[in-house]
């Protein structure tokens, strides 16, 4: 369960607030979509939640409560306890987010290595199980192969598995499908929905692409220039958008992709 209360973030090198006081809640087992054009502050928000902001370069105020604990008050050591354990993150470009010189299996294990005292065999078993969960065919071969030997889709599945493996209470997905081509995109979104349904893991899906959010999320929040302009059930929002900005975003989607 994630609650964001009046989150405000300002970078020293720019006058305008990157995030101008937003409130957002991701209930247990829910997939919330956060949508907005680039520069709307959605990625900064994600970085703030993940604690990956360079605190020396900006002012942060407000609260980010994950299962009741305010992440902003944690010092880096205690925040590290959270990251990868109760909070998983999946990045946009899987090929860049994977260390080219390290086998996929060992990277997926990393969270377990840091947060648990599992033996190497136990970790491998857990990862293979996660690989199966994300529908990777032949998990053993994927475990032993290098990132460049896997397709884009498989790489993203490895990333998702890496986030899943420690049973986090929330997974943060920053544009998870943008770098993938259309066909694979659909598979990954379907996978996310199935994982959410089966494992009741709440997810915050961040994207600039309304059609992606529409297909995967039950509730959606629209962000513009650091503020949330509209929030509500996906269906209602897409059929009768209230805020003019949301209307414009909807018109921008080519009709063909709007079909369910």
């Amino acid at each position: 369960m994630l609650e964001i209360k009046d989150l405000r973030i300002r970078f020293y090198t720019r006058e305008r607030d990157a995030v101008g006081g937003i409130n957002l809640t991701v209930n247990d087992g829910e997939i919330l979509g956060l949508v907005g054009e680039s520069g709307s502050g959605k990625t900064v928000t994600a970085m703030a939640i993940g604690g990956l902001l360079d605190r020396a370069a900006c002012d942060v105020s407000g609260q980010i409560l994950l299962d009741g604990t305010d992440l902003l008050t944690l010092d880096s050591a205690r925040f590290r306890k959270v990251r990868g354990k109760t909070l998983g993150v999946v990045f946009q470009d899987p090929s860049a987010a994977l260390d080219p010189l390290m086998k996929a299996g060992r990277q997926a294990e990393e969270a377990l290595l840091i947060h648990t005292s599992m033996t190497k065999k136990e970790r491998k078993a857990a990862v293979l199980q996660a690989f199966a969960a994300v529908e990777l065919r032949d998990p053993e071969r994927v475990y032993d192969s290098y990132p460049h030997e896997l397709s884009g889709g498989m790489q993203q599945r490895v990333m998702i598995a890496a986030a899943l493996v420690t049973d986090p209470s929330l997974i943060l997905l920053d544009e998870p499908t943008t770098a993938l081509d259309a066909g694979v995109q659909a598979e990954i979104l379907a996978l996310l929905k199935r994982l959410n349904a089966e494992k009741r893991i709440s997810m915050l899906l961040i994207s600039h692409d309304l059609s992606v959010v529409r297909r995967a999320c039950r509730r959606v929040a629209v962000m513009q220039r650091g503020r949330i302009v509209e929030e509500g059930e996906a269906e209602a929002l897409f059929s009768s958008p209230a805020h003019p900005y949301t209307k414009r975003l909807l018109e921008a989607i080519p009709l063909s992709r709007l079909r369910r």
Binding site: G50, L52, A56, S76, R80, K81, V82, R83, G84, K85, G88, V89, F91, D93, A96, A97, L98, D99, P100, L101, M102, Q107, E110, A111, I114, H115, Y146, H148, E149, M159, A162, A163
Partner: protein
């Protein structure tokens, strides 16, 4: 396997080309070995007699292939000036030069790599500027100037070693290493700074890559992320730079050997060139060339092994 064979053939071809160019160079430079050896007073008859003895009267190509034939079979011929087997003259000297170069290389890695890693983490602009200033400062010091300074400070004042009294490598290895430390250091300092600079640039580049963020997102501390992921990715460009440095070390050593009176290949080369002692000069140059090319090949091999992408054959680059 095919690539290794192709690499070896290329290496041999370059060595051949280098040796031919050296022989040609000596053909063009003034100064006649026989006359230089016999000194100004020698009579014409004596000079021509010696020229015949040394085979200098034979045409250029026969001499070249004669020497090459000998070289390939390990017989480096006889030195014009001291009538000793070239192999015998060079044997003790190669050891000294190789030891000095390796010691220098170790110092470069010992100073360069940690400095590079440490400075990569510096964020504060003033620190970054200072770091670059020190790099440039160390890079701007010519080895022979540093050499003179070191031999005065550590040789004359602190008496850590006795300049110009080089203990033989075989008889007193510890003393020899202590002596060689200083020429090695004067060669190493500018190159260590270059290595640090090169490594810092590539570490910084890798630090900005997403996979570091991904690793931290899994709970790794910046230090852990760096050790586990960044180092391996940042090394390849530095390794090929280090290989090129080994090549420069072998060449650069010539001058530093003079400053410290180290009986290495450098001294022999300069003397042989002065005396137009072709067999010695050509052999030394080919040996130096061999080290240079070997270090390049070694670098490629290391990079290839370290990078699965290229090893797999489907080179994405």
């Amino acid at each position: 396997m095919k690539t290794v064979f192709k690499k070896a053939a290329a290496l041999a071809l370059t060595l051949l080309l280098a040796s031919f160019l050296v022989f040609l160079a000596f053909q063009l430079i003034d100064g006649d070995p026989a006359r230089t050896m016999l000194g100004a007073e020698a009579t014409e008859a004596r000079v021509t007699e010696l020229q015949a003895e040394l085979g200098l009267d034979k045409p250029f190509l026969t001499r070249y292939f004669g020497w090459l034939g000998g070289f390939v079979t390990g017989d480096f011929g006889v030195s014009f000036s001291s009538r000793e087997q070239v192999g015998a003259i060079l044997a003790p000297k190669i050891g000294v030069t190789v030891t000095m170069s390796l010691l220098s290389f170790a110092l470069i890695v010992l100073f360069g790599v940690p400095a590079g890693l440490f400075s990569a983490r510096l964020r504060h602009p003033a620190a970054v500027a200072a770091q670059t200033f020190f790099d440039q400062l160390f890079m701007a010091v010519p080895p022979f100037v540093l050499g003179v300074g070191l031999s005065w400070v550590f040789g004359i004042l602190l008496k850590v070693f006795t300049p110009l009294e080089f203990p033989s490598l075989t008889a007193d290895p510890a003393g020899a290493l202590r002596y060689l430390f200083f020429p090695a250091l004067s060669l190493a300092v500018p190159r260590a700074a270059m290595t640090a600079r090169m490594l810092r640039a590539s570490v910084r580049e890798e630090l900005n890559k997403d996979y570091v963020l991904a690793s931290m997102a899994r709970g790794a501390s910046p230090r852990q992320a760096e050790v586990r992921h960044v180092l391996k990715n940042a090394l390849p460009p530095t390794v090929s730079f280090l290989a090129q440095t080994v090549a420069e070390l072998v060449g650069g050593g010539v001058i530093v050997e003079q400053v410290f009176g180290v009986p290495g290949l450098g001294g022999v080369l300069v003397d042989a060139i002065g005396k137009r002692d072709y067999p010695v000069a050509c052999t030394v140059i080919v040996i130096l060339a061999f080290f240079v090319i070997l270090s390049h090949a070694a670098a490629d091999a290391v990079n290839l092994a370290a990078d699965p992408r290229r090893r797999g054959g489907e080179a994405r680059v």
